[in-house]
Each structure stands twice: as C-alpha cells, then as structure tokens.
C-alpha cells in the first residue's frame, strides 16, 4: 500500500519569543497547517493566554491565581477600562494597575491589550511597555493609525499588529511595521477577532489564506505567528449574555459562554492562529487538554 503523501512547503512561520528571563515562551516556527504534525512535527504547542480585565474587581487576585495555573501559558492584561466610552481610566491609573499586576505574576509572560481606542492606546500601550521594561511583554493592539507611537517600544517588546479581517490589510500593516524598523521576529499578526456564528467565516478564511500564502508562496510578510483575542467577542454574544430568565431553555449561562469561547478559539486555532487568549480558566483548560491530546498519543 502506498504511503500517503506528506505536504511539504517552501515557507515556514517565524518563531517568536517573549517573556521575562527564566520564563521565556516561544511559539510559531511551524511549517505545516495547524496540528498537521503528521506532515512535519510542530516545534511548539499553540499557546493559550488568559485574559484579565482591568475593570474586573478581582483584577489583582486573578492575576495571582492565574499565575499558578499550569495549563495557562501567559496572562493578558486587557485594559478595556481606558476607553473613553468605557470607564475612561487615566493612563497613570492603568499604569499603576499594570505594575501591581506584574508584581503578582511571577511565573508567566505578560501580554497587554489596549482599550480599542486608537488615540488612547497610542499613549497607554507604549507607556505600559516602558513600565514593564525587563518583562519582555507581548504588546497587542498596534494599528495602522497609531503604529508610529509603538516604534520606540519595539526592541523591547513583541508587537501585535492588529488589522481588520482582511489578508491584504494584515500584510500591509506588517510591511509598514517592518519599514518602521521593527524587527520581523518582533511582530505577530492579529488579524481580527470574531465569535462562532458572527462573521466567523471571514476570520477563518482570512487566517487560512494568510497561512497558505506564508507556507506555499513563502510570503515573508505573512510569516509572523498569529495571535487572537477570543474573550471579548465570545462573551459579548447573545449566547453568552442572555440571562437564564430571558432564555429559559438555554440553560447555564456560564457553560454557554465557555463553550462559545472554546469553539471560537478552536475554530481559529484550526485555521492557523498560533496563540489564543481566552477569558475563563475552564476554557483555557479545555484548549490545553485538546492540544495535549493532539500532540501526544493520548
């Protein structure tokens, strides 16, 4: 019987490393479609981050608690409260919070995500990079409009380049970032977010096309690993939000939110995302278990 053919590509995804000394975390580096270790072994497991919102009253407690979870690879401080339409927290206030959080996170790399307000992020995020010098953070949410502001943080941090859900825009932003002098292995792609049922097909097809271009066409400007923030979209859906009194047949709200988050995360992982950031530890555990079983003979 003939052996089934392996798919071998010219291109490969870049390996990117972040985190403080002693807790460095590498991801990317693969030359196959996601989880296709039967074609070629993937050098790293796809990593799972846990999101903590600054607006969460238990922000610091969660940082410390998540730091101890073995199935979590890194912690993402999501500073949504900085948005003028949200709590409009000042940069100083958030910086203090971020520093306190970093003091509680002793064993894992840190990612910081902005508030989705381009102007505020331009001020807030580089300031966070400064405050966390030495932590080697992953700094999400640099967009085309505010890329300039992130330039000076570049050598120290890994920069998440966030575009709309579109392969050309993702590539254009990578090109701009490289032209701005950011080293290629300090850039990760954030090609947008979505939840299952809500335009998720655009996200999947965009990621699959990015991966196809990176591997089969050896497109250097699309060979950065992809990072996807799952929590906000998933937990914002009606499926996760609707109260049990409003939708009596739907059952436990927490279970609904977790499953929405898990399936959205797995959907993007299967399409090419190298890292996902989820909000609930149960979701992180399920994804970790899935990856462990996919990686090992279990």
């Amino acid at each position: 019987m003939p052996e089934l053919k392996k798919q071998v590509f010219r291109g490969a995804i870049r390996e990117v490393t972040f985190g403080p000394e002693g807790h460095r975390l590498s991801f990317g580096g693969e030359a196959t479609y996601p989880f296709y270790s039967f074609d070629k072994v993937e050098p790293h497991r796809r990593i799972v981050g846990l999101e903590v919102l600054d607006t969460d009253p238990e922000f610091l407690e969660k940082c410390a608690g998540y730091d101890a979870l073995e199935y979590v690879d890194f912690i993402c401080l999501h500073l949504a409260g900085g948005d003028p339409n949200n709590e409009n927290k000042s940069t100083e206030e958030l910086l203090k919070l971020v520093e306190n959080a970093a003091g509680r996170i002793k064993n894992k790399p840190i990612a910081v995500a902005g508030c989705d307000n381009t102007e505020k992020d331009a001020e807030l995020l580089p300031a966070c990079a400064c405050a966390l010098t030495g932590y080697g953070i992953l700094l999400l949410s640099a967009k085309e409009e505010n890329l300039e502001a992130f330039k000076k943080s570049a050598p120290e941090v890994i920069l998440g380049a966030e575009s709309s859900v579109d392969i050309n825009l993702a590539k254009q932003l990578d090109v701009l970032a490289v032209q701005a002098g950011i080293p290629e292995d300090h850039i990760v792609i954030n090609a947008g977010n979505a939840a299952c049922g809500y335009g998720f097909e655009y996200l999947v097809s965009t990621m699959e096309r990015i991966r196809a271009a990176a591997l089969s066409q050896d497109d250097k400007m699309l060979q950065m690993p992809v990072v996807t923030l799952i929590g906000p979209d998933s937990w914002g859906t009606k499926e996760a939000q609707a109260g049990e009194e409003d939708m009596p047949g739907w059952g436990d709200r927490l279970e609904r939110g977790r499953k929405m988050e898990i399936m959205s995360a797995v959907g993007v992982l299967a399409a090419g995302s190298d890292a996902v950031i989820v909000r609930d530890p149960v979701s992180a555990a399920a994804i970790f278990a899935l990856e462990t079983k996919l990686g090992a003979d279990g």
Binding site: Y36, F38, S205, E255, K259, A270
Partner: protein, 486 residues
Amino acid sequence: MALTGIQIFKLTPKTNCRDCGCPTCMAFSMKAAQGKAELSGCPHLTDEAREKLLGASAPPMASVKCSSPDAELMLGGETVLFRHDKTFVNETRYAVTIDTEMSDAEVDRILKSAAAVDYERIGERMYVEMIEVRDAGEDNLRGINAEGSNAGETDVPELSLRKGENADSSDPAILAVSSRRDRYLSLVRKAAATGRVLILTTKDPAAAQEAAEICAPGKPVLNAADGENYAVMAEIAKKYDLTLGVTGGNLNEIRSAIEETEKTGYKNLIISVPSHSLREAFAMTVLIRRAALLDGDRTFGYPTFVDAGALAGGDTYLESAVGALFTSKYGSVIAFRKMNYATALPLFGLRQNLFTDPQKPMTVKPGIYPLNGADENSICVVTVDFALTYFIVSGEIERSRVPCNLCITDAAGQSVLTAWASGKLSADSIASFVKNEVAPKIKCRRLAIPGKVTSLKGELMRKLPEWEILSSSNEAVGIVPFLKSL
C-alpha cells in the same frame, strides 16, 4: 478529474461506425469530453472502457444519503479542502450517542436534552439530526478500538448485562448476547421514535438486521464493518440500502476494509474514524480527505464519522473543543455524548458560517422583526440585510429592552456603508420598502435610520412625509443610549 478528448478516444473502438451520430470516434470523444455527449451514445464501448470512463468522471468524494421516515441527509460530496476555494457542499451533521451500558433514565435524559435543541438561525433549522445507538459491549468483545486503547487489558466480554431469571437454564454466554441484543433493539426503538436519522453502531449482524427493520423505511447508517465482518455487514447494508460505516485501527486497515467491501459491489460507505487517540483520529480524518481531494485517491473518497464523545473521554468542555475541531477539519458526522443548548449554539453557528458561499455574504430575510415585545405602535428601526449587521443591531436593541420593529431592507447582503456606497441602500430603497412593507403593517410613524447614513434624512423626509425620521447612532453600541433617550 475530467478526461480529455484524447483519453476518451483511446478507449473507443476507433471504427468510425457513426452509430453515435458523430462522423468519427474522435468527434464523439471531443463532444463527450465537453459534456455535450453521453458515454451511452456509443453502443460499442467495452464494459471495461465504460467503467474506466465513468470512474474517471465521478466526483472525487462520494455523496451518500441516509434518512429516517421524517428526514433525509446527504453526507460527503466535498470538492475542496478550504472554504475560500469554493463553497463546501454538505454540512457536517451532529449526532448524540446513547449506548447499551446507560440506564434508561440516562438514555431518556440524553434524548430529551438533544430533542430540546431545535431552533431557527438565519433561515436554517438547527437541531440534532442524528442519534447514534451504540452497542457498547461489542467494543470489548471484538476489540475494535484496536492498537493501544485496550493494551494490557484482556478482552473480557461483559457477560451479565441483564441477569435474567432463567440465567441458569442456558449457556450464559449465549444468553448474554441475546439479552444485550434485546437491550440494543429497545434503544433503537426509542431512538427511532424521535424521527431522527440513526447510526446503528453494532457488530452483531442479527441486531443490525433487526434494527434496520425497525428503522424502515428510513435508511440509517450501519456502523461499522471492519476487515473481518465486512462481507456479512455489506450484505445487510445492501439488503436495506443503508450507508455502511467501514473502519479499522489505522489507515492501512481502513483502506483494505474499504477495498474488500467495495469488491462486494457495495459502495454506499462512510469511513468510521477509530477513537483510540485524538492525535491519530485527527491525522486520519485530514489524511483521508486530503488523499481523496488532492490526490484523487478513490478508496478514501467517502465521508467520515468521528466520535467526539469517545475522543473527549466524558469531559463536556473538551468534547466541545473536539467537536469544533472536526467541524473545521473534515468530519462529516460528529457524535457527542452531551448535546444541550450550550453546546449547540456555538457549534451550529460555527457550522453555518463555515458552510456559506465564500463569494456571497450571509443575509437575513428582509422584513419586520418585532423585538422586546414590539407591536404596531412601536418605533421602526431600519437597517440592512447583512447577517452580521442584523445580529449586532438586534443584539443591541434587545439589550436596550425598548420595544422596536427592526425593519430589514434588501441591501444585497452588504453592510450599511458598503450598501450606501453601492446604491443598494438609498433614500429610494428605504422609502419604497417602508411604503410597501412597513406602512401597511405598522401604525407608528417614527423611523430611525443608521447614523452612518444621516445624509439620507432630508430626502427621506420628503419621500415619507407622514413619518418622523430619526438618525440613530453611528456605531451599534450607541443604539442603547439612543433608544433610551427617545
């Protein structure tokens, strides 16, 4: 995998007898290659040549049909590996599993929970289409889990599932088999009564045959034949026109089981992916699909059945993850142990998204959607039929709890700004929609338009003089404060 004219020509007798109506065999071959002539037009093709030609023109992956008296499902028939290449053909179907080792109460609970999942999402009925009835003891008897899973354990058959009063009066082994068969058939009856399409997982030919009778005139999936029992199972499948699940412990075993089964002349098959390891199951599912679609490997050109429940080992969250993985990558039927709304909502949403036409946006049907208990006296909010816009806007309106008639106008599935730019959303289109569709049904004369097309307000006021035209927020998040401020 279409043949060229030359390739077809080589298989004709080259006699130019004109019986086909063409002047030469070459002319006939050219026409056939373009699909303008049927192969049956030439009465002189040898059977061998005909088979070759038919085989070469068949699609790379078979489409198989299964049914219950109430429903019919098509599986397989895919032509591409990625949805951006072309629309996927037949949606992944979901099953919930009941087995012979479960108590009646458990079986009833599972069936009830699955039956409760039944709703509509963007014009599609979402429900658990299939029920797998699994003869759990068979796994132990025959060791179909092969390679590894039961390594170290001896295969001790479960001998006393039901200790009958007459247990001492006959051979206990035979009694156990027949009592397990009774148990199995009672589950089949229960499952068949739901009207869903069944998957009969058993290696007991007698049970399979009786179960097929119970399901008739429905045509369930019979799962699964392997290298040992394919002949008898294929015979039953043939007799009742069932889709036959074929399995093996690894790709080699699966291939030879399919080849042997095909030799019996039965090709209505589905490949049952073994569940001993997630890593292996994923590799097999991908490799099978890839071999069929990329390499034209006909033996693997069948849909696949994946048991997410077994692969997840009882953890419902892991099961959700496994289910999403195989929905993304090439499971044609996926069985779950726990199927409730929490699982179904994201799962069906994922499937619906993945199986849409990559060239066309998803749309919702134009019309009036009353939200938060709206009636004819509630305000009208107009927006486009792009599904994503509908979901976001309706979600925000629901959050506001203000009764609204959400009026969806036909904008060719484009978002507000795109539709406005392309002329699909204009004062004209809104005015005629409101006059023809909304005004006859709604008494309220207040109409809110998306903030992004505020520029249409003046023209709309002229075109709809009885209406008060309001401009809503630019972004969906602004809808709640907008509605509350009214």
